[in-house]
């Protein structure tokens, strides 16, 4: 498992020529939720491979079950990266994605999430879905780290399967937390702006 993921991570880094920047934030094995803009299939893989190996082992990408359980290759990849698959169609009360995430990470793992919901083809980021808010409400101790991925939509845009090896950049920003009594809409806007703000650094 280590070898497959290491090779995939290296390939992703070579194809995307990614440089990694940590702005007011350091890699750490504490429990975190990395939330990023979503423009390409490579996003989760690239964030994952941008982390140092010890952090990588503890970090699980969150992905859509309907997509990643289709076909042998996708199932295999999801398994290799220890992905946390979320059923987007059947959301039950006590089986909500947020509950599932909290149960799965326990007290050791971190998550990679894309609060836009699906891959975005517009230059503007979409509004965030509310999962990040509920996650933070139930587990206020989690550090929410905004991540901005630059140029990856040009490397492998939605609907394409052949990459173009342009240079991209992954920027990790300073963590945000849910303030006490902060309204949902306010928090989600703030989180979205934390990601957008990394664009101009």
């Amino acid at each position: 498992m280590r070898i497959t993921t290491a090779i995939l991570a290296l390939t992703a880094k070579l194809i995307s020529g990614a440089s990694v920047r940590w702005v007011d934030c350091q890699p750490d094995t504490c429990q975190r939720v990395y939330f990023a803009n979503h423009t390409s299939h490579l996003d989760a893989l690239l964030i994952w491979s941008s982390l140092p190996p010890d952090v990588r082992q503890l970090t699980r990408p969150v992905a859509a079950k309907d997509y990643w359980e289709k076909g042998f290759v996708r199932r295999y990849l999801a398994k290799q990266f220890n992905a946390l698959l979320i059923d987007r169609r059947e959301i039950k009360v006590h089986q909500s994605p947020v509950d599932l995430m909290i149960r799965e990470i326990g007290t050791t793992h971190s998550l990679i999430v894309f609060p836009e919901g699906s891959r975005n083809t517009d230059p503007e980021m979409k509004e965030f879905k509310s999962g990040l808010y509920y996650l933070s409400k139930k587990r206020p101790d989690l550090e929410l780290v905004p991540v901005y991925i630059e140029n990856l939509s040009r490397v492998l845009p939605r609907g394409e399967f052949l990459p173009v090896p342009l240079l991209s950049c992954v920027i990790f920003g300073p963590p945000v937390w849910l303030e006490t009594n902060e309204p949902k809409a306010h928090f989600l806007t703030r989180a979205r702006e934390a990601v957008i703000g990394l664009k101009d650094i």
Binding site: S19, R21, V164, L166
Partner: protein
Amino acid sequence: MPALLPTPEIATCLLANGAVQVLLDRPATILLVAVLVLLLLAWALGNYLEKRPEADVNLALVKSFNRRIQAWLIMYLILGATFLAGSSRIPAVILFFIVSFWALREFITLTPTTFADHRALFWVFFVFTPLQYILVGFGHHDYEWMGFVINPGRIFITWIPIFAFLFIPARIAFAGDHKRYLERTAKIQAGLIICVYALSHAPALLDLKYVGAEAKQWEGGNAGVLFFFIIVVQMSEVFQFVWTQLLGQRVIARAINSNRTWEGFVGGVLTSMVLGTALFWVTPFNPIQAASMALILAITGFAGAMTMSAVKRDRGVEDYGTLVEGHVGVLDRFDSICFAAPVFYHVTKFFFAEAG
């Protein structure tokens, strides 16, 4: 000089048609070793200056000097090692392929392309660029194929400026996005021509059959011509910089690059001619011809640096490596070489090489 330095072959390369090509002769090896020693000394000096920062040295200048020296040292080490160990031109061609690929990557990254250009870009990166270098790599003689006689060395001249040049706009048209169509197409074409086509003429210098004095075949090593080319272009950049520091008054175009002055340009060109003359013994040129070649190299190299500065200003960046924090890009290092290579190749081919 030639009497003092006979030209035994240090490294030769056996071509596919059975002929033997001299790559490194003794003068070229001496030059390579001398350059490596000088670079190592400069590197040691630079590191020493960086370690003891005192008021009399400009630390930013020393750092940029050190990075430049390091990049050159790596390049000459790789070139020297490939010629000596491999006795083949292919590693040198691969080295330039990697440089081209990376420079193109930097160029296109800073160029706004849209989703509709994706497939065309894939062709550019994975078909046109590798094929150009494959043609250069196998360009030294004719191949027979199904009764045809094919010379890759002749195709490499037309491959990108004709076939790729026309293919790109057609492929983008098929993708069906007309917004800023001409602009997007032109930018991709410019990147491909400058970063790949122009630069590929540098390793192609290893393929020419040079004619020396009295119209006889030149017996020296072809790597000498490549070294002459690279050293003169790179040093002309350094001379130009030094003369600007010493005498620089009249800036050529402030909006493009405020560090390039007429004094630096003239001083750089003249000093490069002196250097070129001093290096004539690794080439098939006599001293006066070597001086003229150095003149051409210094002018075209300078033009290349100016042009690429203009592109950078247009895109609003300082260096092509901007995405990689604190790094100067590959294209920043090779801009002058990209422009000088095709001009030098064709002038050399016209005056100093056998036809074909």
